[in-house]
Structures are given as C-alpha cells and as structure tokens.
Symmetry: C2
C-alpha cells in the first residue's frame, strides 16, 4: 500500500506538489483511482482522485478516521547531534519507523555540531511516516540548549532518563529495568564527547535518572535508537 501526505486535507483536499507528482507522473494514477492520505495529525483519509494534476491533484474524500495510536503515551528523545549529518538523517528515519513523538537536538558543552538545519530531517520524517504507514508526524524541534531543555522538562510529568558514558558521577542502572510502561518518557543522549559534569548534575538535580544501555559502547545515534527500542519492547512486554 502507498500512503500520501496532505497536511491541510481537512480544509483543502489537494495533494501537494511532490505527492501529486508521485501519484500522477510516477504511479500514473487517474480519475477515480483510490488513494490513502494522512494529515500527519493522526487522521487517515480514504480518497478518490477527482482531478489529477502534476502539481495540485484534487481529491474527493470518501471516508476519514483517526488512526489508533501505536503507543498510548508520549516519547521524547533528545540527542546532541553527531558531527556527521548522515548519522542524524539515518536516526530520524529509523526512529520514525519504530515510533516516537518528539525529537529535540541538544546543544551541549561538548557538542561536535553546534548548528542543525531541520528542514531536511523533517522531509525524511515525512517520507518515513508514509513508508511505515503512520498517520502522525513526529515533531522535530530546532537546536535547543540543554539548560533550556532541562528547564522545560522540569515542568512536565514524565519519567526522565539521561544516558551517559562516564562512570564517575553516580551508579547507573539499566534503562530497561527502570522504565515503567505506559508512561510519558523522555530520554537524553549525550554528544560523542559525553555530557560535561555540570550538565549531568543539572539533569540529575532536575529529576532525570542516570541510566546505562548496557555494557557495550554505542555511538550516539545507536544509543538513541536502542533506547527508543527499549521503550517499545518494555511496553510490548507489559501488555
């Protein structure tokens, strides 16, 4: 099944340019063909092509329904982006497939990357959402200083974890063992050079639990994906 994306379909039943091109030029769909469209806000629309157009295909909505959420809680993953952008692009694709709600790129003391253009990451997220047949587009925030993120999180009722490499500060527990199912969850992953001691103290003071993902050394993007997988596995086991 191929799924299309039209964020404004409720007000304006038109396939945007890239999806119109794909439907009309690549797939050669025409008047009367059925297509499934999502709005990225959790809704699925069964449609019929009313007026095919390479840039603005007009749709006729036959039926619409909210997609049942794949996981009934909020997942926020905050990561200090890697030096190589392709590792972040890969991470976003995989995270969207597996499922999360909000990605926050963190600016840390030891960040190897201080700037991040999120437009390309957002495009990758749209593509992965369509490919994995989801109806909700996760939020990708702009680069956020870690102090600001911690402050914002202190107002949120969520179980919060910080993963880091240094053995110095406190005894760390394994994330899988600490996670409670069916609760909003936030996981923080540090930069390649790890969080600074000040940053770790600030997260712990703010209610984050220090955790490890196991006794193997993972790259930043692998740690982020493994922690997301851990959240889903723990929830699969709780059903």
């Amino acid at each position: 099944m191929i799924q299309f994306f039209a964020p404004d379909i409720a007000e304006n039943p038109i396939l945007p340019e890239s999806d119109s091109q794909h439907a009309i030029r690549v797939l050669r769909l025409g008047v009367g063909d059925r297509v499934q469209v999502v709005d990225g806000k959790g809704n699925v629309y069964d449609c019929i092509i009313a007026e095919p157009h390479q840039k603005r295909t007009l749709l006729s909505i036959v039926d619409s329904r909210p997609q049942l959420p794949h996981w009934p809680f909020n997942i926020t993953i905050a990561v200090a982006p890697t030096k190589h952008l392709d590792r972040m692009e890969w991470l976003i694709e995989k995270m969207v497939e597996i499922g999360f709600n909000r990605f926050v790129p963190l600016l840390c003391r030891h960040s190897e990357r201080k700037e991040l253009k999120i437009e390309r990451l957002q495009k990758i997220a749209v593509s992965a959402m369509k490919q994995s047949l989801k109806a909700t587009l996760p939020t990708i925030e702009p680069m956020t200083p870690i102090s600001q993120f911690i402050k914002e999180q202190s107002a949120i009722e969520s179980q919060k974890f910080v993963c880091y490499c240094s053995d110095e500060i406190t005894e760390r527990l394994v994330l899988a063992e600490q996670l409670q199912p069916l609760r909003d969850t936030t996981v923080l992953i540090g930069p390649e050079g790890d969080f600074s001691p000040d940053e770790i103290s600030a997260t712990l003071d703010s209610g984050f639990k220090a955790v490890t993902l196991g006794d193997t050394r993972l790259r930043t993007e692998t740690a982020a994906l493994y922690s997301l997988s851990t959240i889903h596995v723990v929830n699969q086991l709780s059903r």
Copy 2:
C-alpha cells in the same frame, strides 16, 4: 580509548598494515607507547610498541586476557539483503555495536538482491568491533539459499523465529513476549517483497515460530536491528 585489531597476534605480535598506519602515522605513537589490541576471537592484549613501522609495527605483549562475553549465548540474525547496499552496511555497523554472533544473508524467492560481496561488510564489522571495544568479531557468512539455512538450523538447538509481514498464514505473536532469555537465538527477516508462502511453510515446519515485531511496518534493516535490540532488552530484564 583506542583499540587495535591483530587477528594473528598470539603467533605473530605485529599490527597489520591499516592499524600500523593508524597507530604510527595518524596517532604518531612511538616506542614504549601502550596500546590495547584484540584478536577478534575474544582476547584482549595489553601491548607496548616495540618497533614502530608504517606497515608492520612490532608489539611486545605485556598481558592478555579473555574478554568476559557481553551476552552468554549465541545470536544468529539471517536477513534477505536489501536492494541498496548502504542499508546493509549500516545494519552491520549497528548490529556489531549492539552485539551479535553470526550474520547470514539469505537468498529468497523475492530477494531484491541476489549477490552480496561480504568483504566490505567484514571491514565495517572490524571497524565497529574496535569502536565499540569488543574483542570478538562476529561471523559474516556468504549469501546462503534460505532452504540451505533452514536445513542447517534444524540440526541446531536454538530458539528460532521468523518475522514476516503477511497476515495470511498463521497467527503471529510478538517477538518480545516469545523470547526466552539466556538461550541461543536465531531470527529470520524476510526480503522487501516478504517471504514466499512456500518459504514461510518451510520455516514453520522446521520449528521456527512466526512472530511480529509490533504493529508498525518496518524496513528490512530496521526490523533486523529492532529484533536484535529486543533480544538484548529481554535479556537485560531477566538479570
């Protein structure tokens, strides 16, 4: 910490060319500098550089020890390789970081890729082993017809799972719920066009359990990595 790889160090305490280059030209190490070397067979060697050389650096072994296994059982992941090779390369890097023992690329009826050169995958595995500070190099098999793999597996005492997309053949259970910790485990992941009905029957007849990874559609390489993560999380939870 930087780790080097010398597969024959026990008989021949010399850093091979690429690692000698890295140690001497890039890191500018010299006589008397300490280095940590692994043999890919599970052993760690503390060494001192005796004679630096850009192609054949002679080492003096100070101490050696077997590395405690990160997981005390065998993990085999068998995957029909994707059309795009970079997705397989990425998968091998991430699987080595997270940890497994054996990768078998499967030739299936609907495989989009019928040939696979494993030399590059092996290089990526070596690099990820060093980066993630492991002492054991996983095995990467050559392309194997699925019928041959199933036959070989029927002689092995292991819990065996096959992940596929089709809903037609049998009710599937969630992998996380079916896994028993601390047991040798084999997981089969089908091609982008899924296994053929014959292939699925053959795996089920041979003792594989049909499982799903959840209710989201994952790409082949994402499914392989998620199933590997599931194995580790279930084992982390059993400790």
